[in-house]
Amino acid sequence: MTTAATACMIKLYEERHELEDYQSGVPRWCSGCGDNAILAAVQRLCRDEQLRPEKTVFVSGIGCSSRFPHYMKTYGFHGIHGRALPIAEGVRMARPDLNIFVNTGDGDCCSIGAAHWIHAIRYNMNMTVFLHDNQIYGLTKMQASPTSPKGLKSNTTPRGTCLEALNPLTVTLGVSNVSFVAQAVDWIPEVLYDIVKAAFHHKGFSFVRIVQRCPEWLPTLLEPWLHDPLKVKLLHHEQGLAISPSLAKVYKNQERHDPADLDRARSVAASVDPIPVGILYRNPDVPCYEDLRGTDELRTTARTKAGLEAEFDKFTVWPQESDGVPHRTA
C-alpha cells in the first residue's frame, strides 16, 4: 500500500504539547457529571501520546456528552443527533492520517443512531469511540433512554419504564467484525485512563462504554455501585489490563479474562451487577474498511485524466471516414 500524501509532511523540529494545549474553554457540564472524568482522561491521553492537535479530530452527535469536542483544543465536529459515527467514517475514509475520536451518548448511539452503531462495528474503521452512558437523556431534561433500567421514572415514563434496558456491550459483541470492546466507570479514573489508552492503541473500531453518573437527573442511580466495591468486577489479563496493587486492595472482585475469548466476553458483558470493568474483547486481526477499500493512495490530475479518457473511449462514436472505416486519431 502506498502512503497518503498528507502523511508525508513531517515536522523538522521538536514539539512538546502540555495538557493545556488540549484544553479549550470551561466545560459547561454539571459538577459531578461523568463527562468531566472522561474529558480529563482523554486530555491526559493526548498529552501522553503527544497527539498533534491539528491532526486530531473529535466527532460527536447531540446531547450533553456531544459537547465534548468544544472542550478540546483540536479539530472537532459537533454534528447532529445520532450521526456522529457516519460523519466520523467519512472523515476517516478521506483522511488516513488523522487521529479520530467519537463522543456519543446512550440516546445518540443506542437510540436515534442505533443503525449507524451496528454498521460502524461492522465497518471496523479505525477510530476510538466513547459511549458516554448515563442511562438518561440529560440535555432534553430527563427522558428515559434505551439503557435506562426497567422501572425508571422519567418525564416520559412517569410510572416507570416498562422495558428491559438495552445492553450496549452484548449488542456490540454480537455484531460481525467487532474488534475492540471495553467498559469503564467514571468513578475509577485510573482504570478509565488505562482503557482509553488501550482503545486508542487498537487499530480498528474501539468501542468503550463508560458508565457515568448524571448528578442532575439520576443522582442516586449508581450509589450502590459506588459504595460497594464488590459490585464492580475488574477484568485483568496479560493481554488486557494490569490492576495496580492499590486498586486491587479496594476492588477485590476480579476476573482473569482473556480479551481474545469472545464467548466469555459475551457472558461477562451480560452482567449488570456486578459491573464488569476492563477490556472484554480485542481482536487486532479484523481488517479495517478504509484499508479494504484502498483509499490510501495518491490521487493526481494525471490519473484522473487517464481514467476518464479510458472511460470516454468505451462510449465514443468515432467520426467515419468517407470509406466507412472508423479512424481513431482524435
Partner: protein
C-alpha cells in the same frame, strides 16, 4: 373467430416487395420513432440500443428511451411487462424522444397491447409482430393473439406478421434468445442502415463472449436483413451528415458518474434507490481506477453524513439519491449548510410523493431542493437540462461547492437518467479537478468563519492545518465557531450564509433565449424538458407563432436577465413535469390555484403574471403535445 376475420387476417400477411431484391425504393424521412418491445429477458433492449448506436455512427441524431416494466420479473406475455427501447432517429440533432411511435417491432401481442393502452403508438402506425402465437398449442394464447391482431387491424394499424422465431430456428436452436438480432437485421434493412456497421456493433456488444457468439448473432442479423428485403414492401432512409468530431453515447446517469470522475471528487456515499442507483453502479465499477470509492452506506442519512464527514476532512464528496432519499437527507443537509461544508447532492427525480412511481420521470422536487431542510438553509440548486449537461453540472457543482462552501443540489430525472443521445466527447481540463488538500498553517488571528461583509464568504480550515483548530457545529456560532446564542452572532451568520447566493448570482450569465427576443409568448422550462420545449417552439414558429423559450439551469440563485426577458413578451408560461391545478376545474380559481414549482417562484420573485402548463403522466412531455399547448395559449 369468424370466417370473415380469418379472411381479413390472411389478407394482411406480409407483402413481398415488388421487383428484384435490393431494389426496394426507400421513402426519405427527416425523423422517425421506432420501438422494439418484448418480455423482459428476450433482448429487445439490446436490439434497441444497438440500433441507436449504429444510427449514431452513421451520423443520425438519436434519442433512446428505455421501456422498463415496473416489476422485476413480470409474467411472460403480460400487458404490464413490456421491456425494450424506443429510439427516435433523425437527420439532424435529436434532443428528445419525440411524439408517438411510428414503427414498432413486438415479440408478442400482449406487450404491444400495453404500449397501445399507454398511448405510446401513433394511430395507424406500422407494427411488425411475431406471429408464432397464432399457432400456439394453448388455444387461449392463440385466441388472444388472433383477437388482438384483428382489433389492431380494424383500428387501422398497419400490421405485418413475421414468424421471427421460425426464421431464426435455422440458425440457432433456442430462437427465443436470438430473435432480437434478427429484428435488428430487419430494422437495419427498413431504415437503410449500414450492415457493416451493424456487424461491428454486434462484435462490440458481444465482444467479451466467445467468437462463436458474435458469429451466430451476425448470422441472425444478416438473416433478418435479407428477410426484410425480400418480404417487406417498404423501406425508409433518414439522410444523415456524418459527424466530424468524436461523440460519446451514454445515458444521463452514466454522464453524472463520469462527471463525478471528472470533477476530481474522490468519495461518493449512497444508498440504493431508483432511478438514481445506476449512476452509482457505473461509478462503483470505475471510480477505484482513479483512486475514488463508492461507499454504500447503511441508509440515506448515513450516506449524507458520510459525505459531509469526507468533505469536512478536505475532500468534497457527493451523495446521489432520488426523491425519498433526498427527504431523508434533509437534516444532514441543514448541518452542511450551517457548518458551511461543501457538498454535492444529486437528486435524480422520480414520481412522488412517497414511493410514487420509482421508474417514471417527474419534476416534483424543485421546491424541496430549494427550501428543504429547516430554518433558513440557503443552498445552490442546478438542474441538468440535457444528458451532456448531467456531465458538466457535476463538475460545476463541485467547483461552486468548494468556492462558496455550500451545498449544491443537482437535479436530474428518470427521463435523463435512462435516455441516451450522442454529445461531443468532452476535452479534459485541469480546472475541472479539485485543488490539492490545503495543509498550510493558518495565519495567526484568522478565524474559521471570517465572513466577508459583502459576499459572506469565508475561508474554511481543514483538519491538519496547524493553528486552525476549531470545532464546527450545527449550533448557532460566531466567527470563531464558538456556540453563540446572542442575537448579533445569529443574525450575522444567517446574513453571511444568505449573501453567498447573491454573490454567486453576480457571476451568472443571463440565460439565452431560443427564438426571438420578443413576441407573444415566452415558455420557461428547467431540467430534462429543454429539447422538447425547443422543438415545440421551433415547430410553432414555423407555423408563424411568435413564441420563444428560455431554459433555466440555475434555479437557486436565479441568473440575471429573467425579468427583462419576460417583460418583452405578451404572455409568459412555464412548462413543467410536476403538478399544477387546472384553472378550468370547478373549484379552482385565481385565489386557490396551485401553480407549478417554477411558475410559483417566478411569480413570487418578479411579480409577473406567469402561467404554467404541466403534466405528471410519468412519461416525457411530447413536443406535439406542447405545440397544441402553445396554440391554445396564444388563442386565449
Amino acid at each position: 373467430m369468424t370466417e370473415i376475420a380469418v379472411e381479413r387476417i390472411l389478407a394482411k400477411q406480409a407483402r413481398p416487395a415488388r421487383g428484384a431484391p435490393g431494389r426496394k425504393a426507400a421513402t426519405v424521412l427527416t425523423q422517425h420513432v421506432v420501438e422494439v418491445i418484448s418480455d423482459s429477458g428476450e433482448g429487445a433492449q439490446k436490439c434497441g440500443q444497438a440500433l441507436g448506436a449504429i444510427a449514431a455512427r452513421m451520423g443520425m441524431g438519436v434519442w433512446t428511451v428505455e421501456i422498463i416494466p415496473a416489476e422485476i420479473r413480470p409474467p411472460a406475455r403480460s400487458v404490464a411487462g413490456a421491456s425494450g427501447n424506443c429510439i427516435r432517429l433523425g437527420s439532424g440533432k435529436v434532443t428528445n424522444g419525440g411524439d408517438e411511435t411510428d414503427l414498432v417491432v413486438a415479440f408478442n401481442e400482449q406487450v404491444l397491447l400495453g404500449r397501445v393502452r399507454a398511448g405510446g403508438l401513433k394511430t395507424g402506425c406500422t407494427i411488425i409482430l411475431e406471429s408464432m402465437w397464432r399457432d400456439d398449442a394453448d388455444p387461449k394464447i392463440a385466441d388472444s393473439y388472433v383477437d388482438t391482431y384483428e382489433r389492431l387491424v380494424t383500428s387501422g394499424y398497419n400490421v405485418y406478421e413475421v414468424a421471427m422465431e421460425r426464421e431464426c430456428r435455422a440458425i440457432v436452436p433456442d430462437a427465443r434468445r436470438g430473435k432480437n438480432m434478427f429484428a435488428l437485421g430487419m430494422l437495419c434493412n427498413l431504415y437503410s442502415l449500414d450492415l457493416q456497421l451493424a456487424r461491428e456493433q454486434i462484435a462490440l456488444a458481444f465482444g467479451k463472449k466467445a467468437a462463436g457468439v458474435v458469429k451466430t448473432n451476425v448470422a441472425l442479423l444478416e438473416a433478418g436483413h435479407a428477410w426484410a428485403e425480400a418480404n417487406l414492401d417498404f423501406k425508409y432512409s433518414i439522410p444523415a451528415v456524418r459527424s466530424t468530431e468524436a461523440q460519446i453515447v451514454v445515458n444521463g446517469n452514466t454522464a453524472l458518474a463520469l462527471g463525478v470522475l471528472a470533477s476530481g471528487m474522490e468519495i461518493c456515499a449512497m444508498y440504493p434507490i431508483t432511478p438514481a442507483t445506476s449512476a452509482s453502479h457505473y461509478l462503483s465499477d470505475v471510480f477505484e481506477k482513479v483512486g475514488g470509492i463508492v461507499h454504500q452506506a447503511e441508509d440515506e442519512i448515513a450516506a449524507c453524513a458520510f459525505a459531509i464527514g469526507a468533505s469536512y476532512a478536505g475532500k468534497c464528496a457527493v451523495t446521489i439519491t432520488s426523491g425519498p432519499g433526498y427527504s431523508l437527507k434533509q437534516e444532514a443537509i441543514g448541518l452542511a449548510v450551517m457548518a458551511e461544508i461543501p457538498l454535492v447532492v444529486v437528486n435524480v427525480q422520480r414520481g412522488g410523493p412517497s414511493t410514487g412511481q420509482p421508474t417514471k420521470a417527474e419534476q416534483g422536487d424543485l421546491l424541496t431542493a430549494m427550501f428543504g431542510s429547516h430554518g433558513d438553509a440557503p443552498k445552490v440548486v442546478l438542474a441538468a437540462a440535457t444528458i451532456e449537461d448531467c456531465f458538466y453540472s457535476i463538475i460545476t457543482a463541485r467547483r461552486i461547492a468548494e468556492t462558496f462552501n455550500m451545498v449544491v443540489v443537482v437535479l436530474s430525472d428518470a427521463d435523463l437518467a435512462t435516455s441516451q443521445t450522442p454529445f461531443p466527447r468532452p476535452q479534459f481540463s485541469d480546472s475541472w479537478v479539485a485543488p490539492p488538500l490545503d495543509q498550510s498553517p493558518v495565519p495567526p488571528g484568522a478565524k474559521p468563519y471570517d465572513w466577508d461583509a459583502t459576499t459572506g464568504l469565508a475561508r474554511r480550515f481543514i483538519p491538519g492545518q496547524p493553528n486552525g483548530m476549531h470545532t464546527v457545529t450545527g449550533l448557532a456560532h460566531d466567527r470563531s465557531s464558538h456556540v453563540a446564542y446572542d442575537a448579533d452572532s445569529n443574525e450575522e451568520s444567517l446574513r453571511a450564509r444568505s449573501l453567498k447566493l447573491a454573490a454567486l448570482a453576480r457571476t451568472l450569465q443571463p440565460p439565452p433565449l431560443f427564438g426571438d427576443d420578443e413576441g407573444d409568448l415566452l415558455l420557461i422550462g428547467w431540467g430534462s424538458t429543454k429539447g422538447t420545449i425547443e422543438e415545440a417552439v421551433e415547430r410553432a414558429r414555423s407555423e408563424g407563432a411568435k413564441v420563444s423559450s428560455m431554459h433555466l439551469r440555475f434555479l437557486q440563485p436565479l441568473p440575471p436577465g429573467i425579468k427583462e426577458a419576460m417583460s418583452r413578451f405578451r404572455k409568459v408560461m412555464t412548462i413543467e413535469g410536476n403538478w399544477s391545478d387546472n384553472p378550468e376545474d370547478e373549484i379552482i380559481d385565481e385565489t386557490n390555484r396551485r401553480y407549478s414549482a417554477l411558475a410559483m417562484l417566478l411569480r413570487a420573485r418578479y411579480l409577473i403574471d406567469v402561467d404554467c402548463w404541466s403534466q405528471v403522466r410519468g412519461e416525457p412531455i411530447k413536443p406535439g403535445t406542447l405545440c397544441q399547448v402553445i396554440r391554445d395559449k396564444l388563442q386565449r
